[in-house]
């Protein structure tokens, strides 16, 4: 309890002085707003559902893009991890594509899909693909060779070997890539919305800014921070439940 108090002391102090300075007129209201107004804007956004609708739109795009990246990344990651010779052929192309900033694809995807979910999700998928793909290749390559021998000795079929040995053995490390990708998916979603896609939290934020509604803008910023924190906490719990996560064949 005392630790919690000590930890919240600085934020509390800042918020209180923010409120005071704002009310005495030392801080301009149109750029800094004030905590009480932000809370009120957030509450009304939640009450009329606009905040939740925007949140859903952002999540829809982020999760769609992430899911596409996860399926493609894990599939090709496992294939490349199991076939080093194929990796020698495909590797250079991957290294050439990977440094392209995902947001640089916005004009192209706009041409392909127009405004909307598809365009946003495809940019997110591109951004999320690389960390998942690369981590999966490394994870598969790092599987304890003894486990592969066990699957050989048991004459497991290819499907059984995948399901019972390779995927579970690599899963601990793959989740690290997935966690990184989830974070990226939200960042890219909000970025695409702020830049031009008229949907989601990024869009409502830029609209609030243009209408000089700094209270609403801050409220959405705080809301995004809370969402990111919540997702991370959820992922952490899911990962820690996996026995032997991250260390295939961890020692006794």
């Amino acid at each position: 309890m005392t630790r919690l108090l000590r930890g919240t002391a600085i934020p509390l102090l800042l918020i209180i002085s923010w409120e005071i300075f704002s009310r005495t007129g030392s801080l301009p209201m149109d750029t800094f707003s004030r905590p009480s107004a932000i809370v009120a804007a957030g509450a009304s956004g939640l009450a009329d559902g606009s905040l939740l609708t925007a949140t859903w739109q952002t999540f829809e795009a982020a999760l769609t893009g992430f899911a596409i990246a996860a399926v493609l990344g894990i599939f090709f990651g496992v294939v490349l991890g199991l076939a080093p010779r194929l990796e020698a052929i495909v590797g250079p192309s991957i290294d050439a594509l990977r440094p392209i900033p995902a947001v640089a694809l916005i004009p192209l995807t706009l041409l392909l899909f127009g405004f909307g979910l598809k365009m946003e999700a495809s940019v997110i998928a591109f951004a999320c693909l690389w960390p998942i793909l690369i981590v999966t290749v490394v994870a598969v390559r790092g599987i304890e060779p003894r486990l592969i021998e066990v699957s050989n000795a048991l004459e497991l079929s290819f499907a059984a070997r995948m399901r019972k040995i390779i995927l579970p053995a690599a899963l601990g490390r793959i989740t690290v890539g997935l966690r990184v990708a989830i974070g990226i998916s939200l960042v890219v979603a909000v970025t695409v919305e702020i830049v031009l896609n008229p949907r989601g939290l990024g869009y409502t934020m830029i609209v609030a800014q243009q209408q000089l509604r700094s209270d609403l803008m801050y409220a959405q910023l705080v809301w995004l921070g809370l969402l990111g924190w919540g997702i991370n906490a959820l992922l952490e719990r899911a990962v820690s439940r996996w026995p032997g996560a991250g260390v295939p064949g961890s020692d006794a």
Binding site: V150, A153, E155, A160, A169
Partner: protein, 278 residues
């Protein structure tokens, strides 16, 4: 004295019911690794048979190719020359009939599966239907003294217990041949002796053929019907000895038996010489 041992080999070496075809037959096997297998030979011209139901121990200094020989028998790797036959069939790959128990049990168990789950893996591979599995698992757990650990994960168990799990998993596939690669090398002396007795008992009960690799000479004599001593550089058979001590054996008395000591003397000198040879 060793000559005398070899004399009564004819009597001892036929534990199988007059088997004309040995369980394992190794003929002129050589093995080299490296690029296009042009590296130095690890094994050179190895030939021996293993009778059905026989417990054969292979002992040798480290680096003599013992483990390579066992991996060849399992089919995990192929020899550069020579042939290995298993019940008359040429070995060209792995088979569930030949179970291999690795020394590094912690790496050979699936860390994300419980003890019961690890044993289940073998049953799943053998196509045992799900309803039958739990009963078989329970029986194997009881046999290996693991009943109380069924729901534990491997990393929650001691080394000895983990090795028991691996043995149970291999027994689950009901192999005709059990290949053991220094299975007790990483265990403390007391645990090792206990497991030696259990493996000897189980192999005797099921009449499973066993090839057991060890660097521990006494372990080889204590467990084996027959002991093959390998010399290194390249790995080759230095001596083959019929142990000829009745079963069940006993950790105290067998190890004080005259024949035990005689074998130990003979093979000890041989292994010492062999390890110094170029």
């Amino acid at each position: 004295m060793p000559v005398q041992m070899k004399e009564d080999r004819a009597v001892q070496a036929a534990p199988a019911r007059g088997a004309a075809v040995p369980a394992v037959s190794v003929r002129g096997v050589s093995m080299a690794f490296g690029a296009e297998r042009k590296g130095p030979e690890v094994l050179a011209d190895i030939s021996f048979d293993v009778g059905e139901g026989e417990f054969l121990c292979i002992v040798g200094p480290s680096g003599c190719g013992k483990t390579t020989l066992l991996r060849l028998l399992s089919g995990l790797i192929r020899p550069t020359a020579g042939e290995i036959h298993f019940h008359g069939q040429r070995v060209s790959g792995t088979s569930r009939d030949r179970a291999i128990i690795f020394q590094d049990y912690s790496k050979a168990l699936l860390p994300w599966r419980t003890v019961a789950g690890n044993i289940s893996l073998s049953l799943e591979a053998c196509g045992v239907p799900a309803p039958e599995r739990s009963g078989r698992i329970r029986a194997l757990l009881a046999k290996m003294g693991l009943s109380h650990t069924a729901r534990h994960y491997p990393n929650q168990l001691s080394g000895g217990m983990q090795q028991r799990v691996q043995i149970a998993r291999c027994l689950a596939q009901q192999p005709k041949l059990l290949l053991m690669d220094e299975p007790f090398g990483a265990l403390d002396a007391l645990t090792r002796q206990k497991l030696q007795d259990e493996v000897a008992r189980i192999a005797g009960e099921q009449r499973t053929t066993v090839v057991f690799i060890t660097h521990d000479l006494e372990e080889a004599i204590y467990l084996g019907d027959r002991v093959i001593a390998l010399a290194s550089n390249p790995g080759r058979i230095a001596e083959m000895v019929e142990v000829g001590i009745a079963r069940p054996r006993n950790q105290l008395e067998t190890r004080e038996d005259e024949r035990f000591l005689a074998h130990r003397h003979h093979l000890f000198g041989l292994l010492q010489d062999a390890s110094f040879s170029p």
